[in-house]
């Protein structure tokens, strides 16, 4: 290897071993490499977007052409959205959206208010059994929801809580709180804590330093964590499907049990419209905060 090929070839993101005998060959090779990466990247994008695209296309297709299977928009109509949002067929998507929003906000706020202190301690303070405590919280986040459902079903039946909002909010804290603590801890570890020290040197107590210096700095981290907790609550199905009633059911349950005008005919186009309604706000939210969400997911997030 006499040709160390200079920094140009070395930094090429490539997979091929650069053995450039002439300049031209190396150039062609790199172009090849670029094309191959491009094709693979396209596969990834299509993988992620095609099924979603299909949902959107179908949601705008006339119900008579449900199985048209043309890959672009045909027989365009807004009717499916009207059907999805109407309450005439026994569905109540608007109500379910409000329920999901309410439950999600409650779960997120409770988890944040409680979890933020634990995360601060885990990231900042030195104490005995720190590893054990973090391990317990992590284990809690991997806890199977199905192990909670039986005793809760019996308990809530006995005390008359079946189908109430609190019966949905309390179990969801079991996964939202560990998620919150873990994500926040990892964000807090990365913050510029020197500023806290500076504040303390200037005469703040630890509590004051937390409130006046750290909290404003931590706001973006807290906000990202809130989004992750909210999404995890919004997507929950197992517990809600068992403990909710028609009045309190969230969107996931509403969509799973969506009924059409014909008893044995699945109203596909309306369901796709309902799915689009549920998903689009989430996707907008996720795309806006993309970078931070990825950071939160990979650093602390453990839930899919």
């Amino acid at each position: 290897m006499t040709t160390v090929a200079g920094p140009a070839a070395a930094t090429a993101e490539g997979n091929t071993l650069p053995r450039p005998t002439t300049k031209n060959r190396s150039k062609a090779r790199r172009r090849n490499q670029g094309v191959r990466t491009g094709i693979q990247a396209l596969v990834v994008v299509l993988w992620c977007l095609l099924p979603f695209y299909w949902m959107v296309v179908t949601s705008f297709r006339d119900v008579g052409y449900t199985n048209d299977n043309t890959p672009w928009f045909t027989h365009f109509t807004w009717d499916n959205y009207a059907t999805a949002l109407s309450t005439k067929l026994g569905n109540n998507l608007p109500g379910a959206l409000l329920n999901s929003l309410f439950i999600g906000v409650c779960v997120t706020i409770i988890s944040l208010v409680v979890g933020i202190f634990a995360a601060y301690a885990a990231a900042r303070l030195d104490f005995k059994f720190k590893g054990v405590v973090l391990g317990v919280i992590l284990a809690a986040s991997m806890f199977p929801g199905v192990a909670l459902i039986t005793p809760l079903f019996q308990l809530f039946t006995n005390i008359g809580w079946m189908g109430t909002y609190q019966a949905l909010i309390i179990p969801e804290i079991s996964f939202a709180l560990p998620l919150t603590v873990y994500t926040l801890t990892s964000f807090f570890r990365e913050m510029p804590w020197d500023l806290e020290e500076a504040a303390r040197i200037d005469g703040c107590t630890q509590a004051q330093a937390f409130r006046k210096v750290i909290l404003p700095l931590a706001a973006p981290a807290v906000f990202t964590t809130a989004i992750l907790a909210f999404i995890s609550s919004w997507n929950e199905f197992l517990i809600s499907s068992q403990l909710s009633s028609d009045r309190t059911q969230p969107v996931t349950v509403a969509i799973a049990s969506f009924t059409g005008s014909q008893p044995h005919q699945e109203p596909y186009t309306a369901i796709m419209a309902a799915g689009t309604i549920v998903v689009v706000p989430l996707i907008i939210l996720v795309l806006i905060f993309q970078r931070r969400i990825v950071a939160g997911l990979t650093a602390g997030g453990v839930k899919g």
Partner: protein, 346 residues
């Protein structure tokens, strides 16, 4: 981190609050930190004890009680009472209660007789989806780790399957897999994807792989980004081929992050409920082709709490054992790897 904490006050604030000399101060500060940490963490632990600890303990208590019901011999309604390991034997050994308190093997159609089938289905889903998601996720992550125009777009697109609720994903694939749907149109067949025994299992696997591979890719990508560029440079200079670089450099360095990602996925896959429940109606095929342990627990709840509690406890122990094997024998250190990732991310 902690050292800077201890040193800093000594230089400036010795006199101010009448602080004792450095060493005692350090000790006191540590004690003070521990007290603070206790107050800050206790609400979280209490809340977790209420929402997780209480149900788990009460599930275990319930699992040793008999379900109230009709006595098969007398036809009279009887209260539960202590059951010993009867509920566990019901699931693990397919033992049902016969007349006069005898034990008979469960008749077909009884949920007890589907236990081992549910265990098999759950582990089958777990193994196949995690293998597929790991291989594809690794591939996705390697692509995203390269520098190319439009990388930001790919990284945004990858979040979309993750953001779609599983319930919606299930309905979407239910439509794709309908008899006259696009999946059959593409392959030119008329497969009953949501009711045939094996087709319905593959439908669940395909839908789950679609939804979760991107998440896996993100976790693996975070691990890839920790591998310093110069290691590859060195391997290149030494004449390693692409293939060698992947197996001898990337894989060993990626292993801790990869193992954590796989552990999380395995634990998540073992409790799969939403997809098979919605996509194949919790059954598929002969009625139990896609019945996982979680689905079986939910089916059992309305037929007897205590028996369901025993089943959910078995499920919980199974998942716990798998996690234990991972951490103990495969050397997956979750907390340490995550801390390393966070340090690397800085």
């Amino acid at each position: 981190m902690s050292t800077s904490n201890v040193v800093a006050p000594s230089s400036t604030s010795t006199g101010k609050n009448g602080r004792p000399p450095i060493r005692a101060g350090a000790k006191r500060q540590r004690a003070q930190q521990s007290r603070w940490a206790f107050y800050l963490i206790i609400p979280t632990l209490v809340l977790l004890a209420v929402v997780i600890g209480y149900p788990v303990v009460s599930a275990i208590v319930m699992s040793f009680q008999k379900d109230a019901g009709l006595d098969p011999a007398t036809g009279l309604f009887v209260q539960g009472g202590f059951a010993g390991f009867q509920n566990y034997a019901h699931w693990l050994l397919q033992q049902c209660q016969g007349p006069n308190g005898t034990t008979i093997s469960c008749p077909p159609g009884n949920l007890g007789s589907t236990f081992w089938s549910a265990v098999g289905v759950t582990f089958f889903f777990t193994v196949t989806t995690v293998i597929l998601e790991t291989i594809l996720g690794l591939w996705f992550a390697i692509i995203m780790n390269r520098a190319f125009r439009g990388r930001g777009f790919v990284r945004a697109a990858i979040l979309i399957p993750w953001a779609i609720p599983t319930a919606v994903t299930a309905k979407l694939w239910f439509f794709i897999f309908s008899v006259a749907g696009v999946a059959n149109a593409l392959i030119g067949a008329r497969i009953l994807w949501t009711s045939d025994e094996w087709a319905s299992r593959f439908a669940v696997i395909i839908a789950d792989t679609w939804k979760t591979t991107p998440f896996m890719a993100l976790l693996i990508l975070a691990g890839l980004q920790l591998i310093p560029e110069d290691v590859y440079e060195a391997a290149k200079v030494d004449g390693a081929t692409t293939w060698q670089r992947f197996w001898r450099v990337t894989m060993p360095l990626l292993k801790p992050a990869l193992m954590v990602a796989i552990l999380f996925r395995v634990l998540d896959a073992l409790r799969i409920y939403d997809l098979p429940q919605i996509l194949t109606g919790g059954g598929g095929g002969t009625g139990h082709a896609t019945t996982t342990l979680s689905i079986l627990v939910v089916d059992q709840i309305r037929q007897g709490f205590n028996s369901a509690a025993a089943l959910s406890t078995i499920t919980f122990i199974l998942i716990f054992l798998v996690a234990f094997i991972f951490v103990r024998f495969l050397g997956t250190n979750v907390v340490r790897t995550q801390e390393a990732q966070q340090k690397g991310a800085k």
